[in-house]
């Protein structure tokens, strides 16, 4: 028996191709009994060692033995009246397998070439200026959306019945400084959380007007919030 490295075979078809190549056999006229014997030698070893792959080899061994038997019987005839070679299917499988086996060598070649090229490694110093976020976030937000968001908030507030009419002393100026004070502490301010503290509808309305004043003057900006119907206020630095 030839000394061969078993783990270089990907499976039974690969092993059969090896025999064919080594013994310069004609693939269309495989000497089935010779090749079956050699194949069985290996299968018995593999079986003995209870290998995971044994199943695939045993299956092929039984196919080979089956072909061997059919070779001894009178040939079957197909519908065209031609003799059927019992080896046909095996030959087709071997050729099909060989076709891809060859291509895997091409792939290996491509792999070798590709391993010679390197991509850029360090991107840490590339300067990036991200476009101002509000420009992207507010792309489809109109003043109408803004007003609608506000209306939704107002509508959600449950009407309270007042027994007393309180006089409120709130001015737009006061609410402007109220917003600015808040924005000096926090970089960003959620509209809903800001007005949640407010009890009176009129205070919310005046705060909203103050907010529009500040936006118009370019002192603060407004951007979308992840929460539906809310938005975020932020200070525009240096005007």
């Amino acid at each position: 028996m030839y000394k061969i490295k078993l783990d270089q075979f990907e499976g039974p078809l690969d092993l059969l191709l090896f025999f064919i190549k080594r013994d310069e056999l004609n693939i269309y006229d495989i000497p089935i009994s010779k090749i079956t014997k050699e194949f069985l030698d290996y299968v018995n070893l593999i079986k003995m060692l209870d290998l995971e792959i044994a199943g695939d080899f045993i299956l092929m061994a039984s196919t080979l033995m089956h072909i061997k038997v059919r070779m001894l019987l009178p040939r079957e005839i197909n519908e065209k009246g031609e003799e059927i070679d019992p080896r046909t299917e095996l030959i087709q499988a071997l050729l099909e397998y060989k076709k891809y086996k060859e291509m895997s060598e091409e792939f290996s070649f491509l792999e070798t070439n590709q391993r010679k090229i390197n991509f850029r490694g360090n991107f840490s110093s590339d300067e990036k200026i991200a476009p101002p976020e509000y420009e992207i976030l507010l792309k489809n937000v109109t003043i109408f959306d803004l007003a609608k968001a506000f209306k939704n908030v107002i509508d959600k507030i449950k009407p309270e019945i007042f027994h007393e009419i309180k006089k409120l002393n709130i001015s737009i100026e006061e609410q402007i400084s109220f917003i600015m004070d808040k924005l000096n502490i926090n970089k960003e301010l959620h509209f809903i959380s800001m007005i949640n503290e407010m009890r009176d509808k009129i205070r919310i309305v005046i705060t909203f007007i103050a907010l529009l004043e500040l936006t118009k003057a370019g002192i603060i900006g407004i951007k979308e919030s992840m929460n539906f119907n809310d938005f975020v206020l932020y200070k525009i630095s240096n005007g």
Binding site: E52, E127, K128, I129, P131
Partner: protein, 216 residues
């Protein structure tokens, strides 16, 4: 220093994952071309200057910067807005691992409510659900009959299209994934050991010549 080393230095800086030092550059060149190669750490600085002069002269959009004894490539600042735009577009598009996890839960367990998703993931999932809704990967498919009648979520047509599936039942079953992911590392190891044994056996056998397998 020979001029042919300019390109090697350029390639080394380009492909290095970290800031590369003069010492490393010299080590690679001597490692390949031999210790006797006429090149020293001091040559590298000059080489970088020549390279940068070349990039300026031929109007190339990046150059090599020197940082703390090392070098790296950087694009010139005038392209910062374009690069910034591209990277912010990219980061917006990328699905985070958390979003993927949530999407997977919804895909396999739909229709499913937010409390159910959160009990599987163990974290609040409002933000992620919003993101997925916004990207049209999931949608609200109705309300559960349970107390409070919470909203039910399910995947969309877009979701199927993205993953190239015709229908939901085309999703790989966990069992099918298990099948290909079963502990094959172990099997492979065992197979290698066995193969070596077989080879030894074959060798012994060929010495022995007369093993009759025909009996088997």
């Amino acid at each position: 220093m020979d001029n042919i080393y300019l390109n090697i230095i350029e390639a080394l800086i380009f492909s290095s994952d970290d800031i590369i030092t003069s010492v490393e550059i010299v080590r690679a060149i001597k490692g390949i071309d031999g210790e006797e190669t006429q090149i020293s750490d001091a040559d590298i600085d000059g080489a970088i200057d020549s390279l940068n002069k070349k990039y300026d002269e031929f109007n190339i959009a990046y150059h090599i910067v020197k940082i703390a004894n090392g070098f790296l490539f950087a694009t010139k600042p005038e392209y910062a807005k374009y690069i910034g735009y591209l990277s912010s577009e990219k980061s917006k598009r990328r699905l985070s691992a958390a979003a993927l996890e949530t999407l997977a839960i919804i895909a396999y367990k739909q229709p499913i409510t937010k409390p159910e998703i959160e009990s599987i993931r163990g974290v609040n999932s409002d933000y992620i659900l919003n993101t997925l809704l916004e990207k049209s990967l999931i949608s609200i498919s109705g309300r559960a009959e349970s107390i409070g009648r919470p909203l039910l979520y399910g995947t969309t047509e877009e979701f199927l299209k993205y993953f190239g599936l015709n229908k939901l039942s085309d999703l790989p079953k966990p069992r099918e994934i298990d099948e290909i992911m079963k502990d094959e590392d172990f099997l492979e190891q065992r197979q290698k050991i066995m193969m070596n044994l077989i080879e030894e056996n074959i060798e012994n056998e060929s010495n022995d010549e007369q093993t009759s397998i025909d009996e088997a």
